[in-house]
Amino acid sequence: MRHYKELWTILALAFAFFFILSYFDGIAIGDSFELRSAGFVRALTDAPRKTAAADTTVLAAASDAPEAKATFAPAPTDTTAQTILFIGDSMLDGLSPRMVDYCLQNGHKLISFRWYSSSTSKWGSPSSSLLSDLIAKHKPSYVFICLGANELFINNVDTKCGPAVDNILADIGSTPYIWIGPPNWKPDTGINDLIARKTRPGTFFLSNGMSFERRKDGAHPTDPSAAMWLDSVMRWMPAHAAQPIRMDSPRKPLPAKAPGQISIRIRQPNE
């Protein structure tokens, strides 16, 4: 019995250590190293899980987005085939497969570039030419962005992220785009407001307030939920986007993939 108590003590002390560490939700050591936490505290303080079946909530939230009420004249839907560049963070794990379906259904070419653990600060860093390089190389006619999830809880968001968001939008230039906001799992410190302020009317889809079924990390929507998320964006687009494009709902069997039509690239966090 005594050695069972010892083992339990080891486990309990380790558990306590990680619990305390997760209270700080990551401790920065130096400029480039962060002691990642197990996220226990975040998991405990999270709102209760909801199911993905709440797609109606998704739609309601979308139509309530502040910019949805902005006054602008939405252009008619462009039905021509597009070259779409879809960039973002790990949220593209769930969104990208559904985007592939949409592109196959509607004959668009897709370049999806997923950069794990990335943020507006990384994509919009003055020292990073990744986005401008991608745009120069692929010459997209439409850009989808999903960034902000890794900056939901940082302080001084305007100072830290404002210039980076400006740089991203400058890189995109006059190319039509949609910025899909991060799927908050708790209230953010201002990243959604910042993006909504910086983007043009009819280009920001507010995801905050939607109900998602989450993976066990409590942050990422599950694949079916992410698919519903993208469906909501596409349903929102014709009436609310400044420059909507044809995005008919995918129907099985999907049209066959043409050579070079779909390109998925992934970059690891520290690359």
């Binding site: 083992l7 339990w8 002691l35 993976r215 998925i264």
Partner: protein, 486 residues
């Protein structure tokens, strides 16, 4: 909190490397220690049984009812088999049990595969059934089949009480991804159970830590690169693709043997010994040796319940090869309902036959160092190429990956340097795991004994270091155990 710990979340099976499992294990351990040391065996069996069923509910939801039903039906039939003196009755009960066990497995795992092939043959439109595969069904089905057959053969006596059989079938460390536990090795441990001794307990803890390192640090990290290659089979040059294939070869070993280590370690902490499931398989110099070292619990099961009943090697050379091939084809199909798995099994069957046939011609020079290196290289190339069919999403994608190695661009030295600089950590981990695998076989048990003797603070420090490394290296999403799908 309650929701996270106690409710079933579809698509989120309990992983031994997850925080949820360890939070639950923290509650389980003191209670288990108390019932195992202070109470009767029956109380211990009941307590673990309830926890195991709860564990399965957390992993597979309502399918826990199916697990319970399997245990009731097979236990009842095994009792009838043992009591009956009528050969027809005994055979009938075995047939009934096999029909139920294999019927359930076939329905959940192979119905869509069968219907898809049927539709292709008759040219109709295939609409897949919406079936969810119960987690670990292939493992516990094989356990229950071996139990009923062993009772029929008289190798073992059926358990007197249902709870003992249900305990064996649902024992949570081995429930969802093996090893496949055999009744003859396990049931007597219930009857004579003692709590783990101090060395066993800490050796079990060592195995769990080793499993976490293999699965959550090595396999999950190197998977991030391998996924890129297999996700875009023609998108990388030949060298990168080759690295992806070698990477997956190590990933599947670390993933599955890591899980087995955790399962064996957890069982040992509880005072139960499960048989070794992996014995440094990539040291094998031929396929026969490989299958003696890889997923030992499955290969011995296939040998005892398929190969030998088919006649084994007792009915001539041709029949031996045919039996071998049939066994490996079934083994392939066990891994997944797709032709690529059948092909994988068939190729291994062919490889085994070639090795058997060539053995008499190898002569004394087969013991030379050069030949040993050559045969190891051939074996590993064969094994690694076949893993591509395991990993790639489709049959076509498998060939694309292999083709890319031969027809893709080979970068020069600068390209290899660029790869090394971009994938430095991946490369370091790969080199370390290859070295760790190549160390003398006695090294790891010796390291385990050192760990057992280490002071408590050192064990705590090592545990914290291991878990923190997992956190530092983990991707945005935790990869499920590869073998969960089986």
């Amino acid at each position: 909190m309650f929701d996270l710990l106690f409710k079933f979340h579809p698509g989120e099976p309990m992983l031994f490397s997850s925080g949820t499992f360890w939070a639950l294990f923290l509650l389980f351990l003191p209670a288990y220690a108390w019932v195992a040391t202070r109470r009767s065996r029956t109380v211990m069996v009941l307590f673990v049984l309830i926890f195991s069923f709860f564990f399965y509910y957390k992993s597979s939801g309502a399918f826990v009812v199916l697990l319970a039903a399997t245990s009731v039906i097979d236990w009842t039939l095994s009792k009838v088999i043992a009591r009956s003196s009528s050969r027809a009755m005994r055979r009938g009960c075995v047939a009934l049990s096999l029909t139920f066990s294999l019927g359930v497995l076939a329905y959940f795992k192979y119905a869509n595969f069968f219907l898809m092939n049927l539709s292709a043959m008759v040219g109709s439109n295939f609409q897949p059934l919406e079936l969810v595969l119960p987690v670990g069904i292939s493992f516990y089905t094989f356990q229950s089949i071996s139990y009923v057959i062993d009772v029929y053969k008289g190798t073992i006596q059926p358990t007197r009480r249902w709870i003992d059989y249900a305990f064996f079938l649902s024992f949570f460390p081995a429930l969802v991804a093996g090893p496949i536990v055999r009744a003859k090795d396990f049931l007597h441990q219930i009857a004579t159970h003692r709590p783990a001794s101090r060395p066993d307990l800490y050796f079990g803890f060592w195995l769990v830590l080793l499993g976490i390192v293999k699965k959550a640090i090595i396999a999950d990290y190197i998977a991030q690169y391998n996924d890129l290659i297999f996700g875009n089979p023609t998108g990388y040059n030949a060298f990168e693709t080759l690295m992806g294939i070698i990477g997956y070869t190590m990933q599947i070993y670390c993933d599955f043997s890591g899980y087995s280590d955790m399962a064996i370690g957890l069982a040992l902490i509880m005072g139960f010994r499960l048989n070794e499931n992996f014995n440094f398989p990539y040291k094998s110099r031929n396929l026969t040796d490989f299958w003696r070292r890889w997923h030992i619990s499955l290969s011995t099961w296939l040998r005892d319940y398929i190969y030998i009943p088919l006649g084994g090697n007792r009915k001539g050379t041709r029949r031996t090869y045919a039996n071998n091939m049939a066994t490996m084809l079934i083994g392939g199909l066990w891994h997944g309902a797709a032709w690529k798995f059948v092909f994988w099994g068939g190729m291994h069957g062919a490889g085994l036959a070639i090795h058997k046939a060539s053995k008499p011609y190898l002569g004394p020079w087969s013991d030379t160092r050069a030949f040993r290196i050559f045969s190891w290289l051939i074996t590993m190339t064969f094994v690694a190429c076949l893993w591509v069919f395991f990993r790639a999403d489709t049959w076509e994608a498998s060939w694309l990956v292999i083709r890319q190695v031969f027809v893709g661009d080979w970068p020069g030295f600068a390209g290899v340097q660029a790869f090394a600089s971009a994938r430095m950590l991946w490369l370091i981990i790969m080199i370390l795991i290859i070295i760790a695998h190549a160390l003398p076989t006695g090294f790891w048990p010796a390291a385990g004994r050192l760990f057992v003797r280490a002071p408590l603070w050192a064990k705590l420090l090592i545990f914290i270091l291991v878990v923190q490394t997992v956190l530092q290296l983990q991707g945005e999403d935790v990869a499920p155990f590869i073998y969960f799908q089986f």
